[in-house]
Symmetry: C2
Subunit: 348 residues, 2 copies
């Protein structure tokens, strides 16, 4: 009765970031305790003593995961990890999670137990408490919504907007693996659907499969930065791809960036499998996403402190806003990176 067909604007015309802009417009924060609202990895709340950090993410079957190759236990694990990653990206410590699930009667009690065994395993490994949630039925498929809540000393929170000219751009671990893992799983699924008797060829791809199916959040990096008294000037977790996530930092900090292709950390297995798929490993790192590594900027004076014994690569530096965001490729040519990230780069 209430559907309006006139003056319709398609959602696709906005894109996810346009949609977020639409939602956040005219949102005014009224409570003095709300330090940071929409627009960072997590919300920041002043509890009078420390800051409380809260973030939420929704995973939808058929959009974010495919149960033909995603074991439920790993899915449960991943659903927690991706939220904890947002808390770590604020330089904070996650303490509690709330987990809501909607599921159709296609799922058995045993399936729910599998899912929660992964959720509980992640909670145990990261020292967080499963403190609540909601369970409901769905008309189709499985939807998981996780809220993670953490804490940090007031002077330790790191936002996306603090990067300054000359700061060094750092990234933990390596990139692109989760994306190549997904390509591999989708290829083997296709083969399997065409001929269920053929065994999937997944041998020797453990690392990239785990990057996709059971990623970890970089708790260790946040702890090590803290031990060495390094407070990043800006930080984000790499969920959309290096290119997109670097753009978030640059836009919010009003700066530009130069990053060097030969400094981008790519695991040999990622490199090898990418080439099998005729994909450029650098493009996978820039645009693949789901790596859940930490991308952050530090002052040049912290260079000596970070140089050794940390699983961190320095991939470039912050420039003035007017310089834009550039990739210096292996031949030394500077290529302007575009806002489209993902699609634009994969089709270049």
């Amino acid at each position: 009765m209430f559907e309006n067909k006139e003056g319709r604007t398609e959602l696709g015309s906005l894109g996810e970031f346009g949609l977020i802009d639409l939602i956040s417009k005219s949102v005014e924060l009224k409570n003095k305790e709300t330090i940071k609202g929409i627009g960072d990895d997590a919300a920041v709340i002043d509890n009078g003593n420390q800051f409380t950090i809260a973030t939420t993410d929704m995973l939808v079957e058929g959009v974010h995961f495919d149960l033909t190759f995603q074991p439920l236990k790993h899915l449960g694990y991943k659903s927690i990890v991706v939220n904890l990653s947002d808390i770590y990206a604020m330089n904070a410590t996650p303490k509690q999670v709330l987990v809501s699930i909607a599921l159709s009667n296609r799922f058995s009690v045993e399936a729910v137990e599998e899912l929660y065994s992964g959720i509980k395993l992640a909670c145990e490994r990261y020292g967080v408490d499963l403190a609540g949630g909601d369970t409901t039925s769905s008309t189709s498929g499985l939807i998981i919504c996780v809220t993670a809540i953490g804490t940090a000393d007031k002077d330790q929170i790191v936002y996306r907007n603090g990067a300054k000219e000359h700061d060094l751009i750092c990234v933990s671990g390596d990139l692109g693996g989760a994306y190549i893992g997904l390509q591999l799983l989708e290829r083997e699924k296709k083969v399997f659907l065409e001929n269920p008797k053929i065994q999937p060829e997944l041998e020797g791809s453990d690392y990239i499969l785990e990057r996709q199916l059971k990623p970890e959040a970089r708790k260790d990096i946040v702890e090590k930065l803290h031990e060495r008294s390094i407070k990043p000037t800006a930080m984000i977790d790499v969920s959309d791809g290096l290119s997109s996530d670097l753009m978030h930092i640059c836009r919010q900090s009003n700066v530009g960036a130069d990053i060097y292709e030969d400094k981008i950390p790519i695991d040999p297995q990622t490199d090898e499998r990418a080439r099998e798929f005729n994909l450029d490993p650098t493009v996978c790192a820039l645009s693949g996403g789901e790596d859940y590594e930490l991308l952050f900027t530090i002052r040049q004076s912290d260079y000596e402190k970070i140089r050794e014994h940390l699983d961190v690569s320095i991939i470039g530096h912050i420039t003035p806003e007017s310089s834009g965001i550039n990739l210096i490729d292996k031949s030394g040519t500077s290529v302007k990176m575009t806002a489209q990230g993902w699609d634009a780069l994969l089709n270049k």
Copy 2:
């Protein structure tokens, strides 16, 4: 590849509470800050200064709402209110919400704006900040997951487990209206689908329609209790129906209860429409749910303080656990209330 068809137990065999038991088994709280985990209206976190309260709820199209008669603006409003209601039920004040939505491309940008106009209106009315969230696509329909975060002085939190023998059982507002509102909407939808030319007969039913489509959380009651220095001994919001929610209090407090049919507050419009549907208004109040009123217990010594000027009815008192939970009907007969609540009572 990972689906297991053997040893399958159907979800329906557990029911929602069985499912919650399954999920919460073997959950141990590890962080000293986590004061209360699964099992109350919300989680309680010690932030060193006050308590932080957090709750989350998921609403699924086709399960919790029907867009043929639920205007998107009202749906947005309701999705916030039902979560705030859980915070108030802890005797706390909500401060922030995080809103995650998944939606298919059936929805236009204008539809999303409608939805968020309701979300923002509720935030404004209740003084809470829309502080974050997630937007994603879904393969079918609309899913909304809201997390509400609030605060309370440490000594003011009210759990479900504090009711004591002789305490008075109180409920705010009136019950059963939301359920009858839904019956009316479903009847008119059926008529409309059979003959779209017939105008829906909704006149004179404003109150019960609003109870269903755009409920309010009882912020005012929590504030008034506070003003009068009444701290309930136990509290819950009426989301599943008086019968179910009273059982939660009794089970967790290890007590019984006697409630009086003639004391249960029912609005004249609810009463009238229920009879048109050949439904017993008392059964609608006991089992209908979605009223978002507050059900709470107070010490007898607080009776004088609550008696006047508050939209609260005293409907019974707490008894020893061995007495069970009983409804004293209008003829004076005591009827034992069963755990099934909803289904069992509607079919009695």
